[in-house]
C-alpha cells in the first residue's frame, strides 16, 4: 500500500461566525458562577430555546436561570429522551443546533437513545449533562454515571469540563463541532463543582481546533472530471440524501437537474430536497422506494450521489446494486466515501459548494429516451392501495396531504406509517420531512414534532406541524403531549392505529409464516382520545374513510393546543413495494404474495 497521509490540511469553512456579536459584557473583570457562564454562553451562541429537566447536579444552573432570566426559553420536558428528540426536531426543522440540559446519572442515561439517533442521522445537538463533583468522579457517587464513556461511540465529540475557566471556550467549540461538517451530537459533561466555581466570563469569537477541519470546496480536477462523466452519460440519476437538506443545496441541485435533464431520486432523509411533483422526480429509492426509482438505479449508467451514504436500506444486496453505474460521490465525511459502494469520482466537500462549482460546467443534455424508459416503469407499477369502505393509513396520509397542500412540516415515528408517509405525502420543500431513519427510534415522532414546532414559532412560520405516528411508537413518548399543551403548540398528531406493531407484523406475515408473536397491541393500547384529553389536548377519532375529512377539519380548527387524531385502520395492510432485507434491489416484491414465496 502506498504512503497515505491523512493529515488535515484543508481550510476551515469560512462563515462559522456567531449569529450575534458576543455579549457586550464588560466581562473581562466580572466574575460569575459556572452555571451563569453556561447560560450566558448559550445566549451568546444565539440559543433561543433549550429542552431540559433539572436534578441535583444541575440545580445551580436552574437557580441561576431563575435569577438572571436568560434570553432563551427553557422547556421543561417530562422525560429526557423526549428532550433529546425535541432538540433533534428543532434542529432539523430550523437548521440550527438543538440544545438539551439534563442532570447526572439517570438524566444522562435517559438521553442516550436520542443522542444515538442524532448520531446516526447527522443531527446537530448539544447535550449538557450534570456530573458529580470532580473529586467524586469514579467513586460510584450518588447519581454518578460516566456519561462520556457511555456515549462515546454515539457522539461526534464530547467534553468533560474540569475547570470553570475552560467552560465558555468548550461551549463555543461544542456548538461549532455540532453544527459544521457532518453535523452530529456533542455532549458536554459539567461537574457540579465547576458549575459552582467562579470565573470571569468571556465568550470567544474564534474557534481553533487544530485537528478539526471542515471540507468546503471540492478539488477542481474532480469537478471537471465529474462534469465530463455527466456529459458522457446517457442514463444518469441523481441520488440525493440528507446532506443536501443539511447544506441547503436544493436550489442549485434543482437547477443542475433541470438543465441536464437528470432524474432525481431521494433517500428517506432526502425527501423534500427536490419537489416530488416535478416530472424529473423519481421519489424515494430503496427498500420501500418506488419501483421506478429502483429500476432507474438498476439500469442507469451514472449515479451522482449527493450527501447520501449508501445505506443498506437503499442498496439492498450490494453486489447486485446498480450494476452498470459509474458513481460520482459528493460527501463531506471522507470516511463515507467508497465505504459501501466504490466511487469512481469522489468529491470531498460541502455538497452545496460543490454543486455550485459544478453548475457552470453543466450543459443541456437530451435524456428524453431515458426519461421515457423510466416512465414505462412508472406506469408498470404505480403506488396503489385498495379504495373500499375500510380505512387505510395511505388514505389518511393522502388526506393530510390534500388538507395541507404540502405546506406542512411532517414528522413521523418508525414503522409502516413512516414508509407510507414517505410514499404518499409527496414532499415539496426541504426541511418539511423529519424522521428517524438511521437508528429507527420508535417514540421519536411526537417529541420531535414538539421541537420542530418551537423552531417554527421562533422563525415566525405559520406552517402547521403534523406528526404521523403508529399506535406502538406514539405511546413510547406520549408524556410530552402535556408539554406541547402547556406551550399551546397546535400540533396535528395522527395516530395510525392498526392495533399492531405493524412493521414487525408485516415481516411476521411475509417471512415468519404468519406467526404473530407479541405484536398484537389490542390489549395494551390506551384509549387515545381519553389519553389526549388527560394531557389537555383535543382527542378525535375516525374509523372509516368518510369520517377522515371531518376529523381533519375539526383538528385544523384548534389553534391553541395539540390535537390527537386516532385513525382506526385495518391491520392487514402491508407496505409495498418492498425489497426484502438482504435481497437484490432488482428483486422487489411489488404486491402481496403468498408467504410461502419467501421462506
Amino acid at each position: 500500500m502506498q504512503y497515505d497521509i491523512h493529515t488535515k490540511v484543508r481550510p476551515v469553512k469560512a462563515g462559522d461566525t456567531l449569529p450575534e456579536p458576543a455579549l457586550e459584557v464588560s466581562a473581562e473583570s466580572k466574575r460569575m458562577s459556572g452555571a451563569e457562564i453556561l447560560l450566558r454562553s448559550l445566549e451568546a451562541e444565539g440559543v433561543k430555546v433549550i429542552f431540559g429537566h433539572p436534578g441535583g447536579a444541575v440545580i445551580k444552573v436552574y437557580d441561576e436561570m431563575m435569577r438572571i432570566r436568560p434570553g432563551f426559553e427553557h422547556v421543561l420536558v417530562r422525560h429526557e429522551q423526549g428532550g433529546t428528540h425535541a432538540a433533534e426536531g428543532y434542529a432539523k426543522a430550523t437548521g440550527k443546533v438543538g440544545t438539551v440540559l439534563v442532570t447526572s446519572g439517570p438524566g444522562a442515561t435517559n438521553t442516550v437513545t436520542g443522542i444515538a439517533d442524532a448520531y446516526m442521522d447527522s443531527v446537530p445537538i448539544v447535550v449538557f449533562t450534570g456530573q458529580v463533583p470532580t473529586n467524586l468522579i469514579g467513586n460510584d457517587a450518588f447519581q454518578e454515571c460516566d456519561a462520556i464513556g457511555v456515549t462515546r461511540s454515539v457522539t461526534k465529540h464530547s467534553f468533560l469540563v474540569r475547570d470553570v475557566r475552560d467552560l465558555a471556550r468548550t461551549i463555543r467549540e461544542a456548538y461549532h463541532i455540532a453544527r459544521t461538517g457532518r453535523p452530529g451530537p456533542v455532549l458536554v459533561d459539567l461537574p457540579k463543582d465547576v458549575l459552582m466555581a467562579e470565573a470571569p466570563f468571556h465568550y470567544p469569537e474564534q474557534v481553533n481546533i487544530r485537528g478539526y477541519v471542515v471540507p468546503d470546496a471540492g478539488r477542481s480536477d474532480k469537478i471537471a472530471r465529474a462534469a465530463r462523466m455527466i456529459a458522457a452519460s446517457e442514463r444518469p440519476v441523481f441520488y440525493v440524501g440528507g446532506g443536501v437538506v443539511n447544506s441547503d443545496a436544493s436550489e442549485v441541485l434543482t437547477e443542475i437537474a433541470r438543465t441536464a435533464g437528470i432524474p432525481v431520486t431521494t433517500t428517506l432523509h432526502g425527501l423534500g430536497a427536490y419537489p416530488e411533483e416535478d416530472p424529473l422526480a423519481l421519489r424515494m429509492l430503496g427498500m420501500h422506494g418506488t419501483w421506478w426509482a429502483n429500476q432507474a438505479i438498476q439500469h442507469c449508467d451514472l449515479i451522482i450521489a449527493a450527501g447520501a451514504r449508501f445505506d443498506d436500506r437503499v442498496t439492498g444486496k450490494l453486489d447486485s446494486w446498480a450494476p452498470h453505474a459509474k458513481v460520482i460521490h459528493i460527501e463531506i465525511d471522507q470516511s463515507c466515501i467508497s465505504k459501501n459502494v466504490f466511487a469512481d469520482c469522489a468529491i470531498l466537500g460541502d455538497v452545496k459548494t460543490v454543486l455550485q462549482q459544478l453548475k457552470p460546467h453543466i450543459k443541456p443534455k437530451d435524456t428524453s429516451g431515458w426519461l421515457a424508459e423510466i416512465d414505462t416503469w412508472r406506469q408498470e407499477c404505480p403506488l396503489a392501495y385498495d379504495h373500499d369502505d375500510k380505512l387505510r393509513a395511505q388514505y389518511v396520509i393522502e388526506a393530510l396531504r390534500e388538507k395541507t397542500g404540502g405546506r406542512a412540516v411532517v414528522l413521523t415515528d418508525v414503522g409502516q406509517h413512516q414508509m407510507w408517509t414517505a410514499q404518499y405525502f409527496r414532499f415539496l420543500f426541504p426541511r418539511t420531512h423529519i424522521t428517524s431513519g438511521g437508528l429507527g427510534t420508535m417514540g421519536f415522532g411526537m417529541p420531535a414534532a414538539m421541537g420542530a414546532a418551537f423552531g417554527l414559532r421562533e422563525q415566525g412560520s405559520d406552517m402547521p406541524v403534523v406528526c404521523i405516528s403508529g399506535d406502538g411508537g406514539f405511546v413510547m413518548n406520549a408524556q410530552e403531549l402535556s408539554v406541547a399543551a402547556a406551550h399551546k403548540l397546535p400540533l396535528k398528531i395522527a395516530v395510525i392505529n392498526n392495533r399492531f406493531l405493524g412493521m414487525v407484523r408485516q415481516w411476521q406475515e411475509l417471512f415468519h409464516m404468519e406467526r404473530y408473536s407479541h405484536t398484537d397491541l389490542s390489549d395494551t393500547n390506551p384509549n387515545f382520545v381519553k389519553l389526549a384529553e388527560a394531557y389537555n389536548c383535543v382527542g378525535l377519532r375516525a374509523s372509516s374513510p368518510d369520517e377522515v375529512r371531518g376529523v381533519l377539519d375539526a383538528a385544523w380548527e384548534v389553534t391553541d393546543r395539540p390535537v390527537v387524531m386516532e385513525f382506526q385502520v385495518v391491520k392487514e395492510e402491508m407496505v409495498f413495494p418492498m425489497v426484502p432485507a438482504g435481497a437484490a434491489t432488482g428483486d422487489m416484491i411489488t404486491q402481496r404474495l403468498t408467504p410461502n414465496s419467501f421462506v
Partner: protein
C-alpha cells in the same frame, strides 16, 4: 488520499461485465500494518482511537503512546493485522475524529521501527552460556543478574524481538515485558 481503493464486490462485478482485468479479490487477505496517529494529549483521545479499532473487530497487536516535541500532542504507534481495504477505511474514520491531528499508515513505506524488550530467564549452569550466546548474537544487554535469573534488554524491530523471545522459549522464561513498537518514516529529502 487516493479514491481508488481495493475493489468492492460491486466494482468487481462491473469489471467482469465489461471484460476488464480484475486484480485478485483481497477480501480475505490480512497484513500487518504499522500506523501512526497524532492526537491531542488527552485520555479521551486515546480511547476514541482505540475504540475505532475494536468497533471494527480489529485486534491491536501493540500500541504505544508518548508525547512528541510538542507536549500537547501525543503520538500513538499502532500495530494491527487486517485487511488493507478495511484498515484504510478505519484510517479515514480515525482522521475524522475531532482530536486526531494526523494519521499515517507506514506499511509499505521506508520506515524505521524499534521495540524494547526486557526478558527475565531462569538459568542453570548448563543453559547459561547458550543464553548469553543467543543474547550476544541479538546484541542484547544483561541488565540484571542474580544467582538464578538474568534479565536481558533487547531492542530492535519487533520481528527481531519476536525471534529472540522464540529462541529463549525452551529456557525457563520468568517474564517478558515488551514496550510495543515505535516507528518513524525515513527522511528522503536529505
Amino acid at each position: 488520499m487516493s479514491d481508488t481503493l481495493v475493489l468492492t464486490p460491486q466494482q468487481i462485478i462491473r469489471k467482469k461485465a465489461a471484460g476488464e482485468p480484475i486484480e485478485p479479490d483481497d477480501s480475505q487477505q490480512k497484513d500487518r500494518h504499522t500506523i501512526v496517529v497524532l492526537v491531542e494529549n488527552t485520555i479521551g483521545a486515546f480511547i476514541r482511537v482505540i475504540n475505532m479499532f475494536s468497533a471494527r473487530g480489529f485486534n491491536i497487536d501493540s500500541v504505544t503512546v508518548g508525547t512528541t516535541e510538542d507536549a500537547s500532542v501525543s503520538r500513538m504507534n499502532i500495530v494491527t493485522t487486517g485487511n488493507g481495504r478495511i484498515i484504510s477505511q478505519v484510517l479515514r474514520q480515525l482522521s475524522r475524529l475531532v482530536d486526531t491531528i494526523g494519521v499515517v499508515d507506514l506499511t509499505g513505506t521506508d520506515y524505521v521501527e524499534r521495540e524494547l524488550c526486557l526478558l527475565k530467564v531462569r538459568y542453570t549452569d548448563r543453559s547459561r552460556s547458550e543464553i548469553l550466546d543467543t543474547s550476544g548474537i541479538f546484541k542484547g544487554r544483561i541488565v540484571d543478574i542474580t544467582s538464578e535469573t538474568m534479565t536481558i534488554e533487547l531492542r530492535g524491530p519487533s520481528k527481531k524481538v519476536d525471534a529472540f523471545v522464540k529462541l529463549m522459549a525452551p529456557h525457563n522464561i520468568v517474564e517478558v515485558a515488551r514496550s510495543g513498537c515505535v516507528a518513524m518514516q525515513r527522511d528522503h529529502a536529505a
